[in-house]
């Protein structure tokens, strides 16, 4: 490993917390990540010294704060290697970003009978907006199926994409940890004449991202999963597409002119940023991106492949067939997000028992009910690792699991 997660962990105040005299073992980063001191301090410092309106007022303080805010946009551009800074739109979260694309691009371009292709492993954020559009205007949704080890089954992809206008898919499953072959999927979408929308919520925090290498059309992700604050997300889109799209939310900042009888839109990115933006949150996200870049996104990825391999190995060695780990076993095609079934203990009860040892995992449908149905249950327990998790945390998980079987007499 090129960084030591035990050292990294010291930057995260919450992870020093103890409950009942035992340290917290935070394994829920696929849900939301913890924040390093550097992010917390950047936000405090900004509010203490530079907080002021953005893009509206002309005094020194406002110019300073606008510079800091736009600096965050520049940092996002570099982080995902977007060609142009005005292609980076700040939203409240990835969900809003995906709704924006579905509503605005979809609303302008999809007609009765058009097809949108999704995958069977999508998060609700990349399903429900398309359902809403489908209900509104009779768009057909098609689903890429999965292989038995939780990868995309691409054997029928060309057929599924035939005549489709949109292919929207996750770059990494928040349930199975599966990494999808993004570039291949983008190419397939384009070959079929569809736009390619990448849900990068799980991928971007954990891997080096290059939208130009992918050739993608849109990318959505959230700050809170990459060590940044809640309350801000990102939509990146190709300038030519964003330029041609109608606005989404209406109000201040997104207009060029407003009259009693109508309005005209501002240029990008303001056009899609109605109202006062998440100012302090942009500063915090910038600090988070700087923090991750200092670790090196290649190193982050390498760490996670290693910890995934270790955790899978340890759990399997210890519990054999008593534990089923969903998704691929090869760390080359997965991140460190492990959904599992332990004996016959319900995931909710697993999580309750683990909580007695302060091992924090999520139990539930993970906002992916169609995938749950495919897995044949309505919930899994999920342990997800990040930069601050070491092999010791995987050991803690394995240790605490023993109690679950005992308690239920299994």
């Amino acid at each position: 490993m090129s960084f030591d997660p035990v050292v990294v962990k010291k930057d995260f105040p919450l992870l020093e917390r103890e409950i009942n005299g035992k340290p917290v073992v935070y394994l829920d980063s696929a849900n939301t990540s913890q924040k390093p001191r550097q992010v917390i301090d950047a936000m405090s410092r900004f509010m203490e010294t530079s907080y002021a309106p953005i893009n509206r007022s002309a005094y020194h303080l406002a110019a300073e704060s606008t510079d800091a805010f736009e600096g965050a946009r520049g940092a996002v551009r570099r982080f995902i290697n977007a060609p142009r800074v005005n292609e980076v739109v700040f939203t409240k979260n990835a969900t809003e970003a995906l709704n924006l694309v579905a509503h605005s691009w979809g609303g302008a371009n999809l007609r009765q009978g058009d097809a949108v292709v999704l995958t069977h492993m999508e998060h609700h954020a990349n399903i429900v907006p398309w359902h809403m559009l489908a209900a509104e205007r009779g768009v057909e949704l098609r689903w890429v199926p999965l292989t038995s080890d939780g990868q995309l089954d691409l054997s029928d992809l060309p057929k599924l994409l035939d005549g489709a206008k949109v292919f929207s898919f996750t770059a990494m499953s928040n349930v199975l940890g599966t990494l999808t072959p993004v570039k291949q999927l983008v190419d397939a979408a384009h070959a079929a004449g569809a736009v390619a929308i990448v849900d990068g919520c799980q991928y971007v925090p954990h891997n080096p991202t290059d939208v130009q290498a992918w050739g993608a059309d849109f990318l959505a992700f959230s700050s809170h999963k990459l060590c940044g604050p809640s309350g801000i997300g990102v939509l990146w889109g190709r300038e030519s597409l964003l330029d041609a799209m109608p606005p989404f939310l209406g109000g201040g900042n997104m207009i060029a002119d407003v009259r009693l009888d109508g309005f005209s839109c501002a240029e990008l990115p303001a056009k899609f940023e109605a109202g006062t933006p998440p100012i302090t949150e942009a500063i915090g996200m910038h600090a988070a991106i700087s923090y991750l870049c200092a670790l090196g996104m290649d190193n982050v990825r390498a760490h996670e492949a290693e910890i995934a391999a270790y955790a899978i190995g340890t759990l399997k060695a210890r519990y054999g067939d008593d534990i089923t780990i969903h998704g691929p076993t090869d760390p080359a095609v997965r991140g460190a997000t492990l959904s599992f079934q332990f004996k016959d203990v319900h995931p909710h009860d697993v999580s309750q028992v683990l909580d007695q040892a302060n091992v924090c995992v999520r139990a539930g449908h993970h906002c992916a009910k169609p995938l749950m149905k495919l897995l044949g249950s309505n919930a899994t327990a999920r342990a997800s690792f990040y930069i601050y998790n070491s092999t010791a945390d995987a050991d803690a998980l394995a240790d605490a699991l023993a109690n679950a079987g005992d308690l239920f007499g299994l």
């Binding site: 309750q352 449908h365 919930a379 239920f408």
Partner: protein, 149 residues
């Protein structure tokens, strides 16, 4: 933090392992469906309501030990009771789960009869996240009762 023994009482585990009244009822029985949107638990409650009495009840669905045992205990407590008695019981159960009364004009609560097995679920209150598990079946029951009107 309260201990797990407060939550997983033996009687709860018993209802979980051996759920009462599992199954379905054919129409004209009422069928109500409940979801816990946070964790994915699902439940179906089937009710035969005749002359203001729930003459039969069946439970379907999947869920954790708390939601399943609560549904099982509920089915046992409810079967053969009048709709009024049942509504009273639902209110008592929700009170026990520290859920505030929604209807200020509701009749006075009759707490004369013992709650029986249901008492075992009192410990759930110490685990607030699980209250939704415990009440899922009961809310679905209410939904079924109002359908049967």
């Amino acid at each position: 933090m309260p201990g797990l023994e407060d939550l997983y009482r033996e009687i709860i585990l018993d209802h979980y392992r051996t759920p009462r009244n599992r199954g379905e009822l054919a129409p004209p029985a009422v069928r109500a469906e409940g979801h816990n949107p946070l964790c994915g638990d699902e439940i179906q409650v089937y009710l035969d309501v005749k002359d203001g009495v729930v003459s039969d009840i069946k439970i379907g669905g999947q869920g954790c030990s708390i939601s399943q045992s609560s549904a099982s205990m509920m089915s046992a407590a409810v079967k053969g009771k009048s709709v009024d008695e049942i509504r009273n019981l639902v209110r008592r159960f929700k009170n026990m789960m520290s859920i505030e009364e929604e209807d200020e004009n509701a009749p006075p609560l009759d707490e004369s009869k013992p709650l029986g097995d249901l008492e075992a679920l009192r410990g759930v209150v110490k685990f607030p996240v699980r209250i939704k598990c415990a009440t899922l079946a009961w809310n679905t029951l209410l939904d079924g009762l109002s359908q049967s009107n």
